[in-house]
């Protein structure tokens, strides 16, 4: 017998009707934001778009980013806590760099990949000395300190 006092609601995705003995009936509602957002896919799509668009030199004497640089960028995306920080903007530079950038009211993080399995970065935040890193393995990702720069801005 359904008893309303036995509802255990989730954030909005579904309701579970808990009974004694334990069992459940599910009733679905429209998907909330966390089921419709796809930040990893959005970044991967952007990288795919850039890799196709800039596969050949796009300026005189420019160097298109290598496939390895895009692959490093993809691996790096999978180290990011994207429920905590927003997606970076991604661009390519004429020297073959795949560039990630976060900027907010009081901070900026700028980092780049060249396809050697490593990345370099520059980060600045108000009232803090700039932080610079070079030759950081892609699998290491951003430090907790830098993630704190970009969290919840």
């Amino acid at each position: 017998m359904y008893r309303p006092e036995h509802i255990f609601p989730t954030q909005g995705y579904s309701y579970v009707f808990v009974e004694q003995p334990t069992s459940e009936i599910r009733m679905n509602f429209p998907a909330p934001a966390f089921l419709t957002e796809a930040p990893t896919k959005d970044l991967f799509d952007r990288l795919t778009h850039l890799s196709v668009k800039y596969h050949t030199p796009f300026l005189p004497d420019s160097i298109p980013p290598s496939d390895a640089a895009f692959e490093d960028a993809r691996k790096f995306v999978l180290t990011l806590p994207l429920t905590k920080i927003r997606n970076p903007s991604i661009h390519v530079a004429a020297d073959g760099e795949v560039n990630f950038q976060w900027s907010g009211p009081d901070f900026k993080i700028d980092l780049g990949f060249y396809g050697n399995g490593k990345f370099s970065f520059y980060a600045a935040k108000a009232n803090r000395a700039p932080v610079i890193g070079d030759e950081v393995p892609v699998s290491v990702g951003l430090s907790e300190d830098l993630i704190g720069f970009a969290a919840n801005y």
Partner: protein
């Protein structure tokens, strides 16, 4: 050829919930203690909302006859939801007291220890202010994880084998031959505390959501206490051989980790930090 990836970088957990179920509804307590509980927790959240709940039944089943709200609208709220939002306006956390449950929901999950610590803190503070557990004992504990993976590639090539271990006994074998659209729901009892069992519900669905193919894995562990607990101290610290609340939640969390390790392929486990 595509691949499944956690929906948010290294995070596959879209929502994690911890809940305590009580023997009866907390409605009247909320009405009386609404302001007290709000004042206790309001500094930790950006928004609080009283919840006024109405119940509608649909359908002609004799068990669930159609029903519309009747009688006067209640003056007191039937629950409270405290919400913390992210900078982009999306929800980061919810703490909710509603019906016969108190639950904490975290959408920006980073670690079990952080989520558990927050849940225990909010639960303890709210139950202290409500001061009802002696009359309305706790009967069950819930830990629920909702993991989400999106498919990067041509959806026509999506296949459960790219995410789930072929041969796992947690899903029906048929889904591995079902392309990108399938679902599988199951439940089982499993020993949790000594020989006492907890109910596991595992619901998987692969579908197109807002133009993105993905798989949602929802695992719930529901542990009914061997006997109702009417003391906050006993619930928190354990009694009569029953472990503390924190220890039981740890066990429930470990069940979820075990489920994912049996369910997901090694590459995905490595990405989400559950390798080994």
């Amino acid at each position: 050829m595509g691949t499944y990836v956690p929906f948010a970088g290294k995070n596959a957990i879209a929502e994690m919930s911890i809940g305590i179920i009580f023997q009866s509804a907390l409605d009247s307590s909320i009405g009386e203690k609404f302001t007290v509980v709000r004042d206790e927790l309001v500094a930790d959240f950006s928004k609080f909302e009283p919840i006024q709940q109405f119940v509608f039944n649909f359908g002609g089943s004799p068990q669930f006859p159609p029903m519309l709200p009747s009688g006067p609208v209640p003056q007191n709220p039937s629950g409270i939801a405290f919400t913390k939002t992210r900078g982009d306006g999306n929800i980061a956390r919810i703490f909710r007291i509603l019906n016969n449950s108190i639950s904490f929901h975290i959408m920006e999950y980073t670690s079990w220890s952080e989520a558990k610590s927050l849940a225990l803190d909010y639960t303890n503070r709210s139950l202290t202010k409500l001061a009802t557990i002696d009359k309305n004992p706790a009967t069950a504990l819930i830990v629920r994880y909702l993991d989400r993976f999106t498919f990067d590639g041509d959806p026509n090539t999506a296949n459960a084998k790219m995410l789930l271990r072929p041969g796992t006994d947690l899903v029906a074998a048929r889904i591995f031959e079902s392309g990108s659209q399938w679902h599988c729901n199951s439940g089982w009892y499993q020993a949790l505390v000594n020989q006492e069992v907890a109910l596991n519900n595992l619901n998987l669905a692969s579908a197109l959501i807002q133009n993105v193919f993905g798989v949602v894995i929802e695992h719930t562990n529901l542990y009914t206490l061997p006997k109702p607990c009417n003391s906050l101290v006993e619930l928190t610290h354990g009694a009569d051989g029953r472990p503390s609340l924190e220890e039981i939640l740890d066990l429930q969390h470990k069940v979820n980790v075990g489920v994912l390790r049996k369910l997901l392929i090694p590459d995905i486990l490595k990405t989400i930090g559950l390798e080994g």
